[in-house]
């Protein structure tokens, strides 16, 4: 059964130290989470999260490009347009439309992937979340009942304040 433990830090160096020690004790990135009211930038290697966002966005843009070219090509041939000598499908005059829809694809993909990668909207509601206080970095550790004591000691030694078990908010 998982328990959640939190400790507060006032600066990111101390928090980074604590995280390093926890990782040395065998905790993985999935069991650690840092909560703050503004982004905290740790040095590389402290708490890295893999992101596929750039790749996904580029793929999304390419997909939309292929989609819109196919759409325009297919529909312009399918509908019996009287173009009066103009070619049925011409790439360059319609190029702007292709570009814009490609960028729209990039925008929508970024938004969608952000929502996915951040974990918003699919957060497990049973997992407790500490309330964010300004100028405080809150570290949450997921551990088993057996590890609880050792984890608490580790955090306190690392300089955390208010080390306590986190109960789910009512």
């Amino acid at each position: 059964m998982s328990l959640y433990l939190t400790g507060s830090f006032s600066d990111k160096e101390t928090a980074a130290q604590a995280i390093k020690q926890l990782k040395a004790s065998g905790y993985g990135p999935d069991e650690l989470a840092v909560f703050s009211d503004e982004p905290v930038e740790f040095k590389r290697g402290v708490l890295d999260r893999r992101s596929h966002m750039s790749f996904v966005v580029v793929s999304g843009a390419v997909a939309f490009f292929l989609m819109v070219v196919g759409f325009v090509y297919y529909t312009q041939h399918d509908y019996p347009l009287v173009t009066g000598g103009m070619p049925i499908f011409s790439f360059w005059p319609t190029g702007v439309v292709f570009y814009e829809i490609t960028m729209l694809g990039a925008v929508l993909t970024t938004t969608g992937w952000f929502i996915w990668e951040s974990g918003l909207l699919r957060r497990d509601k049973s997992v407790p979340v500490p309330s964010i206080k300004p100028e405080v970095i809150c570290l949450r550790v997921r551990c088993t009942a057996e590890q609880f004591g050792a984890a608490t000691d580790l955090l306190e030694k690392a300089g955390a304040q208010n080390v306590a078990k986190l109960e789910k908010a009512a």
Binding site: F35, P39, R49, S51, V107, T110, G119, L120
Partner: protein, 436 residues
Amino acid sequence: MLPPTIPFQQVRGDLWRPLAGFSKRYSLILALLSAVALWGLIAWGYQIRVGIGVAGIRRPVFWGFYLVDFVFWIGISHAGTLISAILRLTDADWRKPVTRAAEAITTFALMIGGLFPLIHLGRVWLFYWLFPYPNSRLLWPNFRSPLMWDVTAISTYLTGSLIFLYLPMIPDVAQLAEHAKGWRLRLYKLMALGWTGSDREWHALERAMKLMAGIILAVAVSVHSVVAWDFAMAIAPMWHSTIFAPYFVVGAIFSGLAGLIVALNIIRKTMHLEAYLTPHHFGNLAKLLLLMSLLWLYFTFAEHLTVWYGNEPKEMNVFGARVRGRFSPEFWGMVIVNFVIPFILLGIRKLRSITTATIASVGILIGMWLERYLIIIPTLSLPRLAAASGRYSPSWVEISITVATFAAMAALYMVFSKLFPIVSVWEFEPHEEEQE
């Protein structure tokens, strides 16, 4: 020099205070602006009912105030792009208090500007024919037309801007939700998407914002190029010029920046945010504005020199009307407010201040509106076959709608600043280590 570290409670208090309550002054001004905007709507309704002939447009000036307003408002929308996107990409920290205000201008200006392609249509009730939807009448829009490019470009830009405005609001809205009650609580909770402030969420947000900044910049450049190509793709004298696309993009950033400075000064005064929107910010914006003014002058000069030297008769006809003839008051007025006054007020260090930057910006807004007028009306008034020349004068309908858009912009902005902190709280909080 960054502002001195302000304790976070004061930051919260200062930036959240405008959201609470309605002062008499606020209500009165909002009511007035709404009335003017409503009058514009009535004028538009009248135009739809009676016929577009109630506007002043006529042959050969088939496009008048509505197109001027369209280009103007889409131009204003580049405020957010410049500040948010470009400065975000260059990691310019001084932009932080200013980004949300700029992004809000972008979104609202786009909404307003996007109305004008509808307003100027002869049969607006059939506007949906410009969209590619399956139908049994074997009809399809013509994607070759620059107006269709407009449709896709503005739709994309509006979608992108809305998202670009919304994403960095999520952390602020989550914080607001903890202290709100009633309908506001429901609104903020909905918008917060369950934001908890975890590092995973922050990283995803920062990555998304960096990507969005690059994307929105690419889109913004294309949008105003497309608007420029509405004119440049036509073979009308002095329209068919390759300089139009970059000229319009530069002009858009120029006018957008001016609009931003005016908006920020108003925000600063009315919401008592002097500690957050400091002379340092205005100094930087003023320098940028001066730079854009010089860039605008360069493009204007290059365009006019080329036309004048080439001496092509039909183009010289339009050129003469602009520079010496019946449009010369507007032309030289434009040069004065777009270049001479900003150069003096912003170029001379002693004269550069928040007040003078605002004065210069108001002048630039007028000047850029005049620039759009001078691009559209003289060329259409003096077509290739002289016998078809004409004179354009706007009617009360066009003037009403034009004024109403300014009122609508201000009203939308006022409502926005009551619902959400106009300075981004999470981006603002200064730290010891940020002070160099």
